[in-house]
């Protein structure tokens, strides 16, 4: 069955395309992009007044299954991803049990197959149980389908172990994803060590808790030649270090989340547990610097760090609430509205950072509308406004600090391998 996506503005950073084109999809692949393709016997999808982009890819998704099914499952997370315009997501390994052996990777892939919404790429644990003591079976997990490795939710504290894991990652040709957090510095910190921490009387997390491990990792990546990917960069100092490391030839990439681009520690005032995450929201200088770093390419990608929790877990006193917020369903509209519409980032740059570059970092197909590529694409409605309603999320997690924000750029259709997995779920 052929499908014709007609009349949209097509943006594809991988081919530097930006203009009015029709796209013909055949056998699940992009068959052609041209100015006017005749609709002969094919299903026509009208994209007039909309934009068509390569499907979004999320480098940082917590699907919580197995063990955290009350928060999210592979199925509900997949649905949320499709609603948010994502055609591919990762499955981070901090589940219970931790994804730290090839059997668990295979089981995760089977769950993703069964759910069938979007592509799911498992990320394996670097160390057994992510306990930071022994290397996990990286090579066997890679063979089973793991595309990258991390101990996310924590960093690898032991430098010797981190270095050895980097040597394995380098040999396997996969990225080492680091959650930079020195636990001796972060301690029991609950939010950024700043004015809000002082006012609210809560232990803070300094920027050095993040940058100390970042500095170590840059040194180790340079020495080992490993592809290092820094997760959820939160501060100006981190961005400067990555900029310098890139200039010095270190093979490093970095991601930033929508919340670290748009929110500051102020969002925590009133003990808002939906603004509690790691790394913590920092200051206005940091959001400005991160935005510039994204625009100039120092930061390669936007990732959601989609971290669903139950309402009951997030209801209570601040210190008892778990870290993390959801992001799949709001990421693109938030950044389209607040970075693209405000002229701080071009739409092409946003698509590049949410699709083309994440695919390259992960080494997976996607991020392109080149003929012959899988038809993974997203159609965006840029004109209709959406008032974010966390209760309407398809994710089980409703823990979002963006509830009530008015946004544009809502995904209207998500297609994975030629299959429509979401259509008008938001705007009817």
């Amino acid at each position: 069955m052929e499908q014709l996506i007609r009349g949209g503005t097509v943006l594809d950073p991988s081919q530097n395309i930006n203009g009015r084109f029709d796209i013909l999809v055949k056998n699940g692949q992009i068959a052609a992009i041209a100015a006017a393709i005749p609709a002969t016997g094919c299903l026509v999808l009208d994209a007039t007044d909309k934009i068509v982009i390569p499907g979004l890819i999320d480098l940082h998704t917590h699907l919580r299954e197995p063990g955290g099914e009350a928060k999210e499952t592979v199925e509900t997370g997949g649905r949320a991803a499709a609603a948010g315009g994502f055609t591919g997501i990762t499955a981070l390994p901090n589940t219970n049990p931790v994804l730290d052996d090839p059997r668990k990777i295979a089981e995760l892939l089977a769950l993703a197959d069964k759910a069938g919404h979007v592509r799911v790429w498992p990320v394996g644990a670097l160390t057994k149980g992510s306990a930071g003591r022994e290397l996990a079976e990286l090579a066997l997990m890679h063979r089973a389908g793991a595309r990258a490795f991390t101990d996310d939710a924590r960093g690898v504290a032991d430098a010797f172990l981190a270095r050895n894991a980097m040597l394995y990652c380098r040999a396997l040709g996969v990225p080492f994803l680091e959650h930079c957090e020195d636990e001796s510095l972060a301690g029991k910190g609950q939010l950024h060590e700043g004015v809000l921490a002082a006012k609210l009387g809560l232990p803070g997390i300094t920027k050095s808790a993040e940058t100390v491990m970042l500095a170590r990792d840059l040194i180790l990546a340079k020495e080992t030649g490993c592809r290092l990917h820094i997760m959820h960069l939160s501060c100006q100092e981190g961005a400067e270090m990555i900029c310098n490391a890139k200039a010095a030839g270190v093979s490093v990439t970095a991601e930033v989340t929508p919340h670290h681009l748009l929110l500051t520690e102020e969002a925590v005032d009133g003990y808002n547990t939906n603004a509690k995450m790691k790394p913590p929201l920092r200051t206005a200088e940091d959001t400005a610097a991160l935005c510039l770093a994204l625009a100039d390419g120092t930061i390669d990608a936007v990732a959601t760090d989609h971290a669903p929790h139950t309402e009951s877990e997030k209801t209570g006193d601040f210190s008892s609430a778990p870290f993390g917020i959801v992001g799949l369903e709001t990421a693109f509209p938030l950044l389209y509205t607040h970075l693209v519409r405000t002229g701080r980032l071009s739409l092409m740059q946003l698509v590049e950072s949410m699709s083309t570059r994440p695919a390259a970092i992960l080494g997976v197909p996607g991020g392109t509308l080149r003929p012959g590529a899988a038809a993974d694409l997203t159609i965006i409605n840029t004109t209709t406004e959406w008032v974010i309603d966390r209760h309407a999320f398809l994710s089980k997690g409703k823990n979002s600090p963006f509830h009530g924000w008015t946004v544009y750029g809502v995904p209207a259709l998500t297609m994975v391998g030629g299959r429509i997995v979401m259509k008008n779920s938001r705007i009817g």
Binding site: E193, A198, K199, G201, Y271, G316, D317, F318, S319, S320
Partner: protein
């Protein structure tokens, strides 16, 4: 303020603070004349103290204040367990609310917990100390003590000394004192004075002797033994020598200056026995004023018009 919760001094206006202080001053007289007690202002009201952290003086002071006004107390044997989290505290609180309890007095180790309760209840919640965050009735009794001494606030210079980082007393006082026109300075070990206190309005001073000599009030904070184990200070002995109030430093104080401490004091650590017993120490006056200050708060929140 009737029917509202009392959680923080940060949102109290100078008028509200002034009214509370004037009421507290009135109660000081009545309070020390047992023949007049109990009053029947809060007769029929039920107040439940929920203390999840050990406390003697604050708990007894609140109980005394409630009884003085004719209210009754529900004594819950909850034990001091800071492990009980917000959600289960709320469950207990809702049960009490359903039994027509009129107000809760809450102390808990988790900053912000009383606010969380207040947001989910319709009866007033009084913060009797939450983590490192605030202890608003303590600030009220401190202001009362200072007012009794100086007769006004504007232009006074108060120096807080010690563990600022972990001090809810310092925070509540900082907010309230600024509102009343007092200049607040802070001094202590570099690990225990967050530089962000400057953004909140305090002046952070390095020369302690000079600051002591310039202060109208020197407010010593309690240092806890655990701060040594967790790496904030090297020893209580070093702390005492550098940041404590000993005889030599005491001699630097202005003639009219007074010494305060929220209690319980570690005599020999943050102040010497001589400093505690110093004629211008007002530490025991503070304790006495605590009852009157809490009576004023209960009055404002709970009395029928």
């Amino acid at each position: 303020m009737k029917g509202r919760s009392f959680l923080s001094t940060a949102n109290l206006s100078s008028t509200e603070l002034g009214e509370l202080l004037s009421l507290a001053q009135d109660y000081c007289g009545i309070n020390n004349n047992h023949k007049l007690l109990p009053l029947d202002l809060l007769r029929g009201k039920m107040i439940a103290p929920l203390f999840f952290e050990a406390s003697t003086r604050t708990k007894v002071s609140f109980e005394r204040a409630a009884r003085n006004l004719g209210a009754e107390l529900i004594d819950l044997q909850i034990g001091a367990s800071s492990l009980i989290k917000g959600e289960s505290v709320l469950e207990t609180a809702k049960t009490l609310q359903a039994m027509a309890i009129d107000a809760l007095v809450v102390r808990h180790a988790s900053s912000g917990l009383p606010l969380f309760l207040a947001e989910n209840l319709h009866i007033p919640v009084i913060n009797a100390g939450d983590g490192w965050h605030e202890h608003p009735t303590q600030a009220l009794l401190d202001l009362l003590t200072i007012f009794q001494e100086f007769g006004s606030f504007a232009g006074l210079n108060v120096l807080f000394m010690g563990d600022i980082r972990h001090s809810r007393v310092a925070r509540s006082n900082l907010f309230a004192m600024q509102t009343m026109g007092i200049s607040v300075r802070m001094a202590g070990p570099p690990t225990l004075v967050p530089p962000e206190m400057k953004a909140l309005g305090a002046e952070i001073v390095a020369d302690i002797d000079q600051a002591v000599a310039a202060a109208d009030v020197v407010y010593l904070l309690r240092i806890q033994w655990e701060r040594q184990q967790s790496g904030f200070v090297s020893s209580l002995s070093e702390y005492s020598q550098l940041y404590g109030m000993g005889e030599e430093r005491l001699a630097l104080m202005k003639d009219h200056a007074i010494l305060l401490h929220p209690g319980p004091a570690n005599v020999g650590v943050e102040l010497s026995a001589a400093a505690y017993a110093w004629p211008r120490s007002r530490i025991e006056v503070q304790v006495n004023n605590g009852v009157a200050a809490r009576m004023a708060v209960l009055h404002r929140l709970l009395a029928e018009d």
